[in-house]
Subunit: 382 residues, 2 copies
Amino acid sequence: MPANKKPKTKSAAKKAEPANIETFLDTIVTGDCIAAMKKLPNASVDLVFADPPYNLQLGGDLTRPDNSRVDGVDDDWDKFENFKAYDSFTRAWLAEARRVLKPDGAIWVIGSYHNIFRVGAAVQDLGFWILNDVIWRKSNPMPNFRGTRLTNAHETLIWAAKSEKSKYTFNYRALKTGNDDLQMRSDWEFPICTGAERIKGEDGAKTHPTQKPESLLYRILIASTKPGDVVLDPFFGSGTTGAAAKFLGRHYIGCERDKAYIAAAKKRIARVKPLPEEELQTQPSPRAAPRVPFGQVIETKLIKPGAKLYSRNKNTCAKVRADGSLYVKDGDVEIQGSIHKVGAAVQNAQACNGWTYWHYEEKTGLKPIDFLRDKIRKQMAG
Amino acid sequence: MPANKKPKTKSAAKKAEPANIETFLDTIVTGDCIAAMKKLPNASVDLVFADPPYNLQLGGDLTRPDNSRVDGVDDDWDKFENFKAYDSFTRAWLAEARRVLKPDGAIWVIGSYHNIFRVGAAVQDLGFWILNDVIWRKSNPMPNFRGTRLTNAHETLIWAAKSEKSKYTFNYRALKTGNDDLQMRSDWEFPICTGAERIKGEDGAKTHPTQKPESLLYRILIASTKPGDVVLDPFFGSGTTGAAAKFLGRHYIGCERDKAYIAAAKKRIARVKPLPEEELQTQPSPRAAPRVPFGQVIETKLIKPGAKLYSRNKNTCAKVRADGSLYVKDGDVEIQGSIHKVGAAVQNAQACNGWTYWHYEEKTGLKPIDFLRDKIRKQMAG
DNA sequence: CAAAAGAGTGAATCCACGA
DNA sequence: GTCGTGGATTCACTCTTTT
C-alpha cells in the first residue's frame, strides 16, 4: 500500500504525519508504553487491550502456612509512590490510547481492587463511555493463606467505547450462540493461567508475574473485534494479546519496554498457527442481512395483492395491497400503512416487527411472512 | 442509661459533645445523610453499609421485546449534573462516614460501573484501606433487551477498613463453615429482591426502586460485625440493613430523607423477630468444630428412632434406627448404613454429605439434619 | 384440586439508517 | 444537526388464570 501523503485530518496536518499504521502491524514497539504509543498515528486502531501495573501494596513478603515464599508482584515497575503518581501515569497512557483509537474504537482494561477504581474514574474523565464492567471469576484462585480476608477470586475488566457516540463492535449473536443460546453475562469464569500455557524460563520460573489466560483474550476479541481489526496492547508483557490476535486473524501491536518479555512474546507468537479463514466466521447478526422491503415479496409474487395476513392467534386480519401496504378494517376504524405500522396499531403498541407479527396461510398452517423474506434473501445470495 | 458527662476523648472535648450514640441506636434519623451523620459523635459506630445513588444517566424509555415498558430508576435522588457534582457529594458523605467510624471500624459500599469507580477512588483518597472488592452475582438479572451489550449481571461492593492500621472484624471461620468448609470467595451469588420480600405499596407498586436482598446484608453482617455492634446506613431506603441488623442482634442507625421510605422501613423492621441469642454464636475458634456423630442426635432425642428423613425433593425416604443408622427400602433393594453411605447409595453417587442431604419434617417444612447438629454443638459450647 | 399456560417484572447509561 | 421509519430484541422467577 502506498504511503498516504495527504493528511487525513486537519489536526494531523499540524504536526508531521506519524508513520503509517501498516508499519506497526503485528510488531512489538520497544520502549515505555506512552513513548511507544506516541509513534502511532491518530485514530488508527480498532481496539485497545491494557493490563496496566496493579500498584500492589504488599507489606513485606507473603508466606504460605508451610513458610514457603509466595512469588508476589514485587518488580520495580509495580511500585508507585502514591495514588497521585499512579493517577497521572494512568491518565497519560489512557489519553494516548484514546488518541490512537478510531472514533468507533473501544478499550478493555483489566485490574484488581488496588487499581481498578482509579483506572475506571480516569476512563470516565477522559471521555470514554463505559459499556460494561466484566468480572473474570477465577475457577482456581490463590487462597487467602492467613484467613484475614475473603479469597480474592476475581479480577475486574472495564469495556468502554472511545466516546458515547461510538458505534462500537459487539458480536452479540456470536456470544449468545456460544453460550447455549443465552445472552452472555457480565461475569466470565476462566481458570488462571497455569500449566503448559504458562511461559517459564529455563530455570522453570515464570517469565511474567501476571500472565493472562488466552481464553480471556479470545472472548474479548470475539466479542468486540472483527477479523482484520487492529488490536493495540500498551502493556504487552508475555504477549497473550498478540497470540490470541494472531490465532483469530486480527492484527496486533504491542508496546513493551522489558527486552526479556519481548523475546519471550516473539517466540510465543511465532509458534501460533492462525485459524483458517473459514473458521473465523462468527454467527451472523440478523442486522447485517440485506434489507428486503415487504413490497419485494409482492413483486416476487410470493404473495399476491388482495391476499390476507393474520396475527398468530388469527384474531386480526389484514389485506395486502399492490404497493406493499396493509389494510385493516376494525369496526369503523380503517388502518393502513406498512406491515410494521399496522401491526403496531392493531396491538395498540408503540412498535411492532411486522415480519414476525403477520402470518400467511399455508397448507400446514399459519407461517410468519418472515419465511418469505428468507426465501428472497436466499435467492439473492445464491 | 445516664448521660455520660465526662468526654471520652480529648478531641471530643474540644467541641460541644454531640449527643451520645445510645440515643440513636435502632432509629432512623430523618434528613439528608450528611446532615444526619453530623449529629452523630466521632468514632461511635462499628460498621457502615452504604447503598448510595448510582448516577445511572438513563436515556429515554426502554421497552422489552414484547413492547412492555421497563420501570427504570428515574428518581430525583439519582440525578447529578456531572461527574464533578457526583464526586463532591461522594467525598462529603464518605468523609462523614469515616469520622463516625470507630478506629477499627469498616465500611461497605455497593455500586455499579456507573459510580463504583468514582466511589472506590474516593474511598482510597480519604484514607480508607480496601480489604476486598466483592461481586454480587445476580442469579436472575434483567436481560439486555436490545442485544447491545453484555447482560449486566452483577454489582460491585467495596469492603474497606477505616485505615490501614484498623483491626477490623472478619469472622473468617464462620464464613468458611457456612461455605462447606471452603474459604469464602470474593464473588457471592444471590437472587435479586423479588416476591414476598419485596416491599410494595397498597397499589402493588414497589415502594423503593432498588431494594437490596436481605441475604446480601446477612452475609455482610455475619462477615464483618459482632453481635451488639452498631451498623450505620446513610442511605437507609427501605431498611434492609435495619431488618438484617435487628434479626442478627446488631444495632442499626439509618439516615433517610424520604418520609415514605422511612415509614415503610419502620413498619418492616417492627415485624422482624430477632434470632435468639444462642443462635448468634458464630464459629468461635480456629479449631475445627467438634465432631458430632449422628447417633448423638438420637441420644439427645432431637430425632426419635423410627422417624423419617427425606431428600430435599422428598423423592427418597429413609427410616432412622436407634443406633443412628438409616434404612431405605427401594423396591426389592434394602439399603442400610450411615447417613452418608445411604445418601450416596440412593443417589448412585460416590460420596454424600448426609448432614445436608437428609431432611426432617418441621411445621415450617423440611429442614436439613445439619440444623440439629448445630444445635448440639451450641449446647456443647454454651 | 393439580397442572399448565399466561402475565408481570427487575439499579439499564439498550438501534441504525437515510432523508 | 433532527426526524421518521424499518425492524431487531429477553432471562429467571413469581404470581395469576385457565385447563
